[in-house]
């Protein structure tokens, strides 16, 4: 009995196909499993914190009152960063997409990307040794002239290592994220809308407010949210720049603390319950950034057909 030559050849290499598709599928599932494992292992290691006697937790009043001030500190630092980075980042993106000479634009975009390439520990070192001392006179001026506002209450820090300095360093680190995402979206504004606005006699700024910004709004919002995620989770800049302490309203005194910096500063010496506490703090940070990122992704997904930030 003779088998068809084509058919016999047909089974050759089938094993390879199966192995290859299986490996690809396995890798995909591994990623899902990893993310699940992150949540599970953090939870297992953090568990002693939730079951332990509240008086044994740092601060002596349970985990909630331990984590609350540093969550607020994290939010303050991230808020300062975003307040600075959002307007500047959007303006830089506009500069690259609509103001800079066409030939320079690509190169300038790359220069901004370089900001993102510099390792965070170097920003931390820069903030610690260059920016913080440079900001001391400004802080003293703020304390002297605007000290009646609680956030500028004096006496100002003598070293400049305050949450405001940390927020400024974070702003520098978040800026390239906001800029590169917004720039991509600004460039996708339909050319016809822009040209129509210009043809009707609009100035360049009117053209931008009438055609570019409305088109890009969801993209800008998600870019800011992604920047927020980065600012919340950034460790080294805060760990090096901030001279930590309890929660205080003044931004120009040493004090306040963020979750990521709290972990980095205390982890090397931690053991037992303290270790579990820090891992629980990490879990809280994970959940917060997860929620922020999910919101950002949801906004992007809803406007997927318009935006380039996906």
């Amino acid at each position: 009995m003779t088998t068809n030559a084509l058919r016999r050849n047909g089974s050759k290499g089938q094993a390879g196909d199966k192995v290859f598709s299986g490996a690809a599928l396995g890798a995909g599932i591994l990623i899902l499993a990893t993310l699940l494992a992150v949540a599970i292992f953090l939870f297992i290691q953090a568990l002693p914190t939730f079951t332990a006697d509240p008086t044994l937790i740092t601060g002596g009043e349970g985990f909630a009152s331990y984590i609350f001030p540093i969550v607020i500190g994290t939010v303050i630092a991230a808020a300062i960063a975003l307040l600075i980075a959002t307007p500047v980042g959007i303006a830089v993106a506009l500069f690259i997409s609509h103001y800079a000479p066409r030939r320079l634009a690509a190169g300038l975009g790359y220069v901004i990307d370089l900001l993102a390439a510099i390792p965070s520990v170097i920003y931390g070192a820069w903030g610690y040794l260059v920016l913080a001392p440079a900001l001391v006179p400004t802080f003293q001026w703020l304390a002297a002239n605007l000290g009646f506002i609680p956030i500028f209450a004096g006496p100002a820090s003598q070293t400049g290592k305050t949450i405001l300095t940390a927020g400024i360093v974070l702003a520098v680190m978040v800026l390239p994220i906001i800029t590169s995402l917004s720039r991509e979206i600004f460039l996708q504004t339909p050319k016809l809308h822009e040209e129509a606005a210009l043809a009707l006699g609009a100035t360049r700024w009117e053209m931008i407010t009438m055609s570019v910004l409305p088109f890009a709004r969801p993209g800008i919002v998600s870019a800011v949210m992604l920047g927020l995620g980065r600012a919340l989770g950034e460790t080294m800049a805060v760990a090096l720049v901030l001279s930590t302490g309890g929660l205080i309203p003044s931004l120009i005194k040493s004090g306040n603390q963020t979750i990521a910096a709290e972990i980095a500063l205390n982890f090397p010496e931690a053991f037992g319950l303290r270790l579990a506490e820090l891992i629980a703090a990490g879990l809280v940070l994970f959940v917060i950034t997860l929620v922020v990122n999910l919101i950002a992704r949801a906004i992007i997904a809803r406007h997927k057909e318009f935006s380039g930030a996906n």
Binding site: F20, S21, A23, V92, A100, I118, G201, L232, A260, A264
Partner: protein, 383 residues
Amino acid sequence: MSATTTRKTPNDSRNVQNPPPVARKRNSLAKGHLPRWAVPGIAAAALILGAAASTLGGFSVATLAIYTAIIFVIASTVITTLVEGPRHGKNTLATNLVYAAFLLALIPLASVLFTVLQKGMPGINTHFLFHSMNGITGAVDNASVENGAPVLGGAYHAVIGTLLITLWSTVISVPVGMLTAIYLVEYGKNGPLARAITFFVDVMTGIPSIVAGLFATALFAVLLGPTARMGIVAAVALSVLMIPTVVRSTEEMLKIVPNELREAAYALGVRKWRTIAKVVIPTAISGIASGVTLAIARVIGETAPILVTAGLANNINVNVFGNWMATLPTFIYYQILTPTSPTNVDPSIQRAWAAALLLIVMVMVLNLGARLVAGLFAPKKGR
């Protein structure tokens, strides 16, 4: 808009009723334009006024720049508003602010690069590059400060640790990341699993680096006991950060491989996996390589995950499966935060800046290398 219209209407109606002689007539559209020298003129005036203002309260380049910028923005806005109208005034203000924002964004970049170069160069020498911190104590630093001798101790152990940990995380992430991207593009076909993976890869991109470090610690604590700190734990932590970057860039590259190439291979009877391995990936390899290089550049400077996974060592350790390991970022961090000699911090600060320079050079070389690879070996476009 309305302001201009009301301003022009009387002009226009008069023109229609009683046309003036052609020679004397100014074009109404060209009216109210600032001459071309207005911008440099205002800038020069602002510079002079700014210099005057900054000398009042202690001259410095920073105050000069700030005063000049403020005076220029206000003056050019006011003058444009007066001459060309409020709409153009607003436009000028926006233009100036956009330019100012860009210059503002360049300040930290320039300052960081300048500081690292200026403070890092003195510390870079063969002793620094090829010696570890083994045996370097506070007493050694004190002695070298008192005698004016060169600073001893270097970052050799940290460079080795950085390279090994990055190598291992690359070895873990590249196969997983590439295979996942292949699944997404070639097999998943936008099914529910593929969509879930895409979504969670996006989520993974946003994991804070310190949480990735905690995850690796927690994982190995469950497997090996609570004090397991070694290079491979750090490599796992970095892989969590690296995999999403590799997946995204590989996916983008595989998507732009033309379908005709795949169909041509299938038509010749080539198996799917051989088509992918021999046709699709070679076509996209330059983009994939540059994406992987950028991913390496991203994780090589990570500090927080190393801090909680590999600890800190002062001696050379080439075994990622045992004992603590130093890397350049943690070396910088500890040299600044806990100087070797608490009374004489200068040697530690000098070592930290030298290590920072080394690290920044590595990252920049990787970044430029990635652009170069992408540019040189880009797939040939259809002609």
